[in-house]
């Protein structure tokens, strides 16, 4: 802080003191004033809702009436004994297992190819990345049309390959995999770009050293590239899993959770309970469970990171 000169008049010694005290108080308060706007919104829309989710989860509360009745763990017990809750959980785990490893493997493979100095690279990159730019709502519409029975593009060419006419989204076993397909298509380009960033910080001399040692490309990938990418894989994997537990747009727009509840995922289940059945207590309890699952995954992943990943990016 630049020191400015104040109060040159003879009778202003006390005002000079007061001014100095005020300036010192201001200097102390300044950082807090700077972060105040951020923390105001953060508290109202991030911290407070987390606390309140747990609080409301102990009440029976129908939005229609203002009366909240304390019921202890009854909402959690209700989830435990509801077959649908377990079906939703299982659906979401299948969705994550279907989406995440496939997306990551494809993303890494594409990133390795793109990282060569090939001609037309910018075009490939743009065509692989553009689904990241469009809304999931638009992607859902595109795939609804492609997957539609009889006239859909997929069925045209499926028939051409000798497959029967399949109503993908109406089939209780296939509908979830149709959502997996959309999820992979939408996200693979994004994760490819993140992998590209990881690849670009691997120094060239490591590859050159491996070549001198006589390592073939396959060995170079598994012994040099892949281990050095492990922090990236770790973060990308965690992000992708959390992402798959947040999937809602495609469920809402493509299947409505159906057929039956075959594609009902966590957020859609919360949405149904809170905004269709107005059961805020139960919706909050399921939100709290989801919150704890994701928190648990994050903590677990970070502990693994400390043990397994020895390379700082």
């Amino acid at each position: 802080m630049p020191d400015q000169t104040h109060g040159s008049g003879a009778g202003s010694a006390s005002t000079w003191e007061k001014g100095r005290a005020r300036r010192r108080a201001l200097a102390l308060a300044r950082p807090y004033l700077y972060i105040l706007p951020t923390f105001f919104f953060l508290f109202v829309f991030t911290h407070w809702p987390i606390l309140r989710t747990f609080y409301v989860s102990f009440f029976k509360w129908n939005m229609a009436s203002p009366r909240m009745e304390f019921v202890g763990f009854a909402n959690y017990a209700q989830a435990r004994s509801a077959p649908l809750f377990w079906e939703v959980l299982r659906n979401n785990i299948v969705f994550a297992i279907g989406t995440v490893p496939l997306t990551l493997a494809l993303a890494l493979a594409l990133a390795l190819l793109i990282n060569q100095k090939l001609r037309g690279l910018a075009i490939y990159r743009a065509l692989l990345f553009y689904p990241t730019m469009i809304p999931m709502a638009a992607a859902a519409m595109i795939w609804l049309w492609i997957l539609t029975p009889n006239y859909g593009l997929l069925n045209f060419y499926g028939k051409w390959l000798g497959l029967p006419d399949i109503h993908w989204l109406g089939h209780s076993k296939l509908a979830l995999w149709a959502l997996v397909l959309v999820g992979v298509w939408k996200r693979v380009g994004y994760y490819m770009v993140i992998y590209l960033a990881g690849l670009q910080v691997i120094p060239d001399y490591l590859h050159e050293a491996a070549i001198i040692e006589g390592a073939n490309p396959w060995q170079r990938f598994w012994r040099v590239t892949f281990p050095l990418l492990s922090p990236t894989t770790f973060f990308v994997g965690l992000m992708a899993v959390i992402d798959s537990f947040q999937a809602i747009d495609q469920v809402y727009l493509m299947t409505g959770g159906g057929p039956g509840n075959a594609t009902n995922l966590f957020i859609f289940y919360i949405y149904q309970n809170a905004f269709r059945f107005f059961d805020m207590g139960y919706g909050s309890a399921v939100s709290a469970i989801l919150f704890l699952i994701l928190l648990g995954l994050t903590v677990l992943a970070f502990r693994t990171l400390h043990r397994r990943v020895h390379y700082a990016a």
């Binding site: 807090y32 706007p37 989710t53 594409l110 692989l128 992000m239 809602i248």
Partner: protein, 277 residues
Amino acid sequence: MPRSRPLWRLAAHAILFVAALVMVVPLVWIVLTAFKERNEVFSLVPQWLPAHPTFNNFLGVLDAMPFWRYYWNTLVVAFGILAVQLVTITLAAYAFARMEFPGRDALFILLLVQLMIAPQSTVIQNYLTVTSLGLLDTKLAIMAPYLASAFGTFLLRQTFKGIPRELEEAAALDGCGGFRFLFHVAIPLALPGYLAFGLVSLTYHWNEFFWPLVVTETTNARTLTLGLGIFAQTAEGSADWTMLMAMTLMVIAVPLVLFLVFQKRFINSFMQSGLGG
């Protein structure tokens, strides 16, 4: 990367070409569908090119819904969020990067909580909050949860930290301290960071669907993605693929063209979002 052999390069081209084709065929298919006549799509063999190209589907969309109102709402929401974020993240990032104060590290962890939690898991409580604030069915309700950004603060803090102390001291000697240093030195140096954050933020909020769905009830505040989703679930929209694809195209056209023109900028921005988050 060392230069690779010609055969390998050819294989790489082949794989990338197929992958790019798989990614882009859906887009080509909807663009072509959008120009077809309504009944043309109900054919049992694929007709790629429209037999009689028509703009009627696009005009039909404008008749069927307040499309421009949705467009305006989307612009206000996306740019409104960004405008407020730029103020909040600049101040917070500057404080966290260049000031010492008690509780700083603990507060920074409280900030990072926003990056670690899944925003969808707090939707019910945020709905209750905007309801009790009387904001339901307004554009402000859609914007409210995003006005502070841990990601943006984190990104800028890195840049601000990189400015050398000597530069700040020299600027202070020249009478350019405090706020003036922030405006005349720190912010201009951080422009690439602002650009990256801005592109990611705009894309995210242009595309968002679920939160706006929860807090809107009428066309008053609804955004494009909602207009699209709601139209798809009406009898008219769900029966008419050509019009639905025309609307999809109208929703994605401008961001997609901007992306193709400024491809590198967009991709670099999203790269940084991965590193920051």
